[in-house]
């Protein structure tokens, strides 16, 4: 396994690390792009991206982990677009760069949370993508979701034990001084699309022959195995979808066993997915410029 630093993008403002196999690269396998999770730098939460890249290098997969502008070592954003658009632009710049470096047959885009959103958005617009790994990506409540979350949760003795533990966050939040810097949530750069829109997006990717790997945790809002297909019933029976539920893992896979489980799932998926179908070639879709977007809304 070899790693080298790369600087790329039209203004040379993005920093990344390419991980390449020591010996034989498997040209039949796509190259992997690992996208930032929130504001976590390119190594990933708990160094996950590094571990994934190095594991897959053993399988002959080339990968690039990089920082979106304004995150990690990459420079401040320069195009004035919201993150959900700039992430797509920069993902495509990363693909352009890696294509010139290693000439992969196609790309897999992977990300956690907002990284999953960026991967999905970029995959929709980019015909070179043959697979996506969405970790705690799009999740939606279903009837069973509410049963698992509230009704069954109330019956779980562990939840009550947790609540009675002095380390439970409820007690700690009651007795600690609230920081003036403390924020709750910002979905300004991760806005969940309507369920119908997400379903249609997945269908379009599947129709193109893109392989989809979904990995979910409870902290990501996924409460039971089957929630994905209950959320998107039109996708039942479709090939090229792999859904995994790791209920005890947290959103950033803090526990070492959960990191191993996640990496194993990704490794297995790379090995077993059907990469023989070349991505459907078509015109590259451009994002509308800000002025065009405003005009479209008016």
């Amino acid at each position: 396994m070899n790693e080298r630093v790369v600087v790329f993008g039209p203004e040379g403002s993005l920093v990344g690390i390419i991980t390449e196999p020591d010996t034989v690269r498997r040209p039949s396998l796509p190259a992997l792009l690992l996208l930032n999770a929130g504001m976590q730098p390119r190594v990933g939460p708990n160094r996950l991206h590094v571990k994934i890249a190095r594991r897959l290098a053993q399988r002959g997969v080339v990968s690039l982990r990089f920082d979106f502008s304004g995150i990690g070592d990459s420079l401040r954003p320069r195009h004035g677009r919201p993150f959900c658009e700039s992430a797509v632009i920069e993902t495509r710049e990363a693909m352009d760069f890696l294509a010139a470096e290693v000439q992969p047959t196609s790309f897999v885009l992977a990300g956690i949370c907002s990284g999953a959103d960026a991967a999905q958005r970029a995959a929709e617009l980019e015909p070179r993508v043959s697979g996506t790994i969405l970790i705690d990506g799009y999740t939606y409540p279903t009837a069973r979701y509410y049963v698992h979350r509230y009704a069954l949760g109330a019956l779980a003795w562990r939840r009550w034990r947790n609540l009675l533990s002095r380390d439970h966050h409820v007690w700690r939040s009651l007795f600690r001084r609230k920081s003036s810097d403390e924020a709750e949530a910002d979905v300004g750069f991760f806005e969940l699309p309507p369920r119908e829109g997400a379903e249609a997006s997945f269908r379009r990717l599947l129709d193109r022959g893109v392989n989809l790997c979904m990995i979910h945790t409870v902290e990501g809002g996924y409460y039971y195995a089957g929630q994905f297909f209950d959320s998107f019933p039109s996708l039942r029976g479709r090939e090229r979808i792999s859904v995994h539920f790791i209920p005890e893992a947290d959103h950033v896979f803090t526990a070492l066993w959960s990191q191993d489980r996640l990496i194993d799932r990704i490794d297995e998926w790379f090995e077993t997915a059907d990469w023989s179908a070349a991505p459907v070639r078509g015109p590259t879709v451009e994002l509308p410029r800000p002025a065009e977007r405003r005009a479209a809304r008016e």
Binding site: V7, R47, R158, D167, V187, F189, G221, D250, A255
Partner: protein, 308 residues
Amino acid sequence: MVDKPSVRLTRGVCKGDIARRARAAGFVSSAGLSDACPVECGLPENLTVIRPFYFGPDGRRLFAVYHPPQATPTMPIGVLLCNPVGFERARMIRSFACLASELAQRGFAVLRFDYFGTGDSAGTPEMVDAEQWVSDVGAAADALRRAAGTLRLSVIGQRFGANLGAVASSRRSDIEGVGMWDPIPRSGDYLTELWDAHRVWLGREHGEGRRPPQRSGEVVGFLVTEGMAQSIERLDLDRLDRSPARQILIYEGYREPRAAPLAEYYRRLGGTVEYRHHPCDPVPYREVGRIQRPAIESLKQWVGGLQV
């Protein structure tokens, strides 16, 4: 600077889930990424002013980012930044990147790097102990000297990075100043704090708060081996037999400071020691976007006053 955000909901989505996921991923700014960076930090606009690279022998390659000076320096001193380790590293990345950029804009050559087995450097934590990390600090100092062509260096470390930087500096003769940001005077306390952090995390995630203390094992996403634990315990700052440098800054942001006796100890060893205490709220372990501006300003001011 962190604003109070508003939460924009999408129909059919549970607000609580979105809030939890956003917190988990370290979202802090309502302005979004495109606005937070220029407002909070003097990050450079041109990537030619920073040079990421790998250095070191095959099998022990370390990742580093060099910030060449962007102005004529008042004092020819290079600055080496030593990260904290484990889960604390991610919380410091933005602050160290800002500190490095702003020092470079003032004319100082700066290097920040990842120890072996951390960040983008080679290796895994099982392959290394704290003494090897001290060696990594020395190797990074040499890399900075080669990159900057400067003979004199200063070292700034945060949390256990302060310990590593101070110990490494005490073994060299070319370190003019050592800045210790929230150092841990007794390294054994660091192990205790790690297990406490892990216990709190277990309590939040699984309600398993009451666990016996351990010497080695998993700590909030990272592995601390027995060898690492033993090597950590040997890096007490108050047992160095010489001052880490002639000029020392100890900066504490803890609400309950503990390093004032360390400042006295280094004064007895002949160091010129400045001690500053500016309590601030602790950064939650998953919050990676906060830039710790008061500490950055204090460290910049201290570096600017170093004498060669």
